[in-house]
Each structure stands twice: as structure tokens, then as C-alpha cells.
Symmetry: C2
Subunit: 196 residues, 2 copies
């Protein structure tokens, strides 16, 4: 046997990426073998190498695509009030991450498995995202709408808190994702507001 019926790179490529994403998220990059990915797709190992040069690049592309999606999905509107910009950010972050639990998990857990070069590229994208939030906090600070000791720290604190949601939230749970968004928005809002 060689080429199989119905085989087409436009189909197999995405299926490989999906399978890799799922397996990496579930078991971790280092714990997943190329043969396991291939088997999930229903193909032999060798076939995978039509779609990327090596395992490292596969991981990198998954993470990069996720970060690019994230950056192109967030639309901050600097003309509105800092408070409403912050609310939009909080709700957006939870929504976006909730829809992609696997990608989120990988993006935060597999950084150390990137080559130094690839790591730098992903880190740069992450900093760009953090800057969106930090700009909002700075604007709120200047407008006396917020009171925060340090915008950089507050940025990291808020993002850590929001991202934590995807580590425990399950749709079957007691609360809906809408409840979660409301509660997190309230907490964030209070944590940055001036003490009367």
C-alpha cells in the first residue's frame, strides 16, 4: 500500500493539527509521540512530515497560531472610558479562552519545550497582548478612574486570575460561563477602583 483513497493535504493537515493540539493538551508535548498523533489521525508516522519539518515546529506553529488569533480577536476601543474598556477586556478574555481550552493549556504549559528562538517569538506575542491590558490600566490611572500601585503587576495579576478560569471551569458545573464573567468582572472592577 502507499497513498490511500481520499487522501488530500487540505484535509489531513488540519486533522494532524487538531490531533496534536488535543494530545499535547491532555498529556503534554514531551509525553506524546509522533506515532500517537499519527494513529489518532489514522495515518502512518512518515505522513506527518509532509506537514511540518519536525515535532518542535509543530508545537511552535500551534502556539503561534493561537497567539495570533488572540491578538486579532481583541479589539480595544481607546475612545471609550477606561472602565468600559476594562470590562470588555475581562469578558473577552474569559470568552476567548473558554472556547479554546486545549490551545490555552498548551500556550501556558509548553513554553519551556520551545527552542530558545521559538520561545522568544511566542513571548513577544504574549507581551503584545499584555500591553493591551496595561494600556487600559494606564489610561484609567491618568483619568483617576482607577487606583493601582503598579500597572505592570496589576496586568499580570489580572491575567493570571482570568486565565485560571480555564483550569477548573467545566460547562456541566454549578455556574454558567455568564455567571463567571459577571463575578470576575466585579472582582477586577473592585480591585482597581479607588478606595472611596
Amino acid at each position: 500500500m502507499a497513498r490511500t483513497i481520499g487522501s488530500h493535504s487540505g484535509k489531513t493537515g488540519p486533522r494532524v493539527r487538531d490531533a496534536a493540539m488535543h494530545l499535547f493538551a491532555q498529556r503534554g508535548f514531551a509525553a506524546v509521540s509522533m506515532r500517537q498523533i499519527a494513529s489518532e489521525v489514522g495515518v502512518q508516522v512518515g505522513a506527518l512530515y509532509n506537514y511540518f519539518p519536525d515535532k518542535q515546529t509543530l508545537l511552535f506553529e500551534l502556539m503561534r497560531d493561537h497567539m495570533l488569533e488572540l491578538l486579532s480577536a481583541i479589539h480595544d476601543k481607546p475612545e471609550t472610558t477606561p472602565s468600559s474598556r476594562l470590562e470588555v477586556f475581562v469578558r473577552f478574555h474569559i470568552t476567548f479562552h473558554h472556547k479554546r481550552p486545549d490551545a490555552v493549556f498548551i500556550a501556558y504549559m509548553e513554553l519551556r519545550n520551545l527552542s530558545p528562538q521559538n520561545f522568544e517569538e511566542i513571548e513577544a506575542l504574549r507581551r503584545r497582548y499584555e500591553t493591551v491590558l496595561e494600556d487600559i490600566l494606564r489610561a484609567g490611572l491618568e483619568a483617576n478612574e482607577f487606583q493601582v500601585a503598579d500597572t505592570k503587576i496589576t496586568t499580570l495579576a489580572i491575567i493570571a486570575m482570568l486565565t485560571g478560569v480555564s483550569s477548573w471551569f467545566r460547562s456541566k458545573g454549578r455556574l454558567s460561563i455568564a455567571d463567571i464573567k459577571n463575578q470576575y468582572w466585579e472582582m477586577v472592577q473592585k480591585s482597581v477602583c479607588p478606595k472611596y
Copy 2:
């Protein structure tokens, strides 16, 4: 050669654990081989098996010991005010985790590499720790000192935020760990306080 000069289980055991902890934190459990650990200790692979039955148990013991240390170090004082209990908790969490970056990293990243049985045991310990915080929040709620929509969610949000510190804090940075603690305490305090 066989037994080496100066060899003693009271020395080698801890050195093995230290080396494993460091390597697991840096590269991840699945990416570290027994031979790499042995080489770090300056010993042959076989010698490691004097100290644990297999790699899985080594990981488990590292995580379990960390959680037990955490639980025995936190001393909540229910007789004091909820607000001061919360402050003690926040400062304690940051201090404790800051002193053990490797153990923290492993405890939060390698859960999926535990066998189901070992996972359950670690999870139970983690829930016990979360309960300490949740009890404080509940007490504050009943005393009308705090205003939170859901103590469970707030617990997870606060812990995620606090634990995030160890993922970016470096002693060489702009801010001291004391600054960090003050700022986080202020954020947490505001996020749970009643709206004026």
C-alpha cells in the same frame, strides 16, 4: 568499581530529590530521563532505584511532600477578624511559594503525569488548602466584612492570582517581594470588600 567513597543514603537520597525537583521544574517530568537525574547527582542510573521504586513514585513524593509542607506551614487563626486572616493568608501564600519556585511549578504543571491514584491524593491535599481560604471568605461574608458573589469562585480566583506571581517574579527585578506582597494584598482586599 562498585560502592563509591563517601557514599551514604542520608546524603544521596536528598541529592536525588533535589536534582529531580530542579530538572522536572526546568524541563518537565516527561522530558527528563533517569540518566539525566543520575548524572546530575554524579551516580549511575541503577543507584537511583535504592531511593524509590520507579519514576512515577519519585514525582508523586516530590508533589506530596510539597503539599504537606504547605499545609503544615499555613496557620489560620479563626479567632481573629476575617480581614486580618485574609491578609495573613495572602502574605503567607506569596512568601511560601516564592521560596520554592521549583516545587510550585511542578505541583501545578505535572498533575497530568500522575497516575490516577496518585492524582487523587494530591488533589485532596490541594482542596484542603483551598478550604482554608474559602473558610476565611465565608467568615468574612457572614460578618459582613466581605462582599463576594461566590466563595468557591473567589477562592480559585485569588489563588490563581497569587500563584501567578511565581511565574514571573525574579529577585533581580524592579520590585522587591515585600512590594509585591503589599500590592497583592491591596488588590485582594479591594476585590472582596463591599462596594462602599
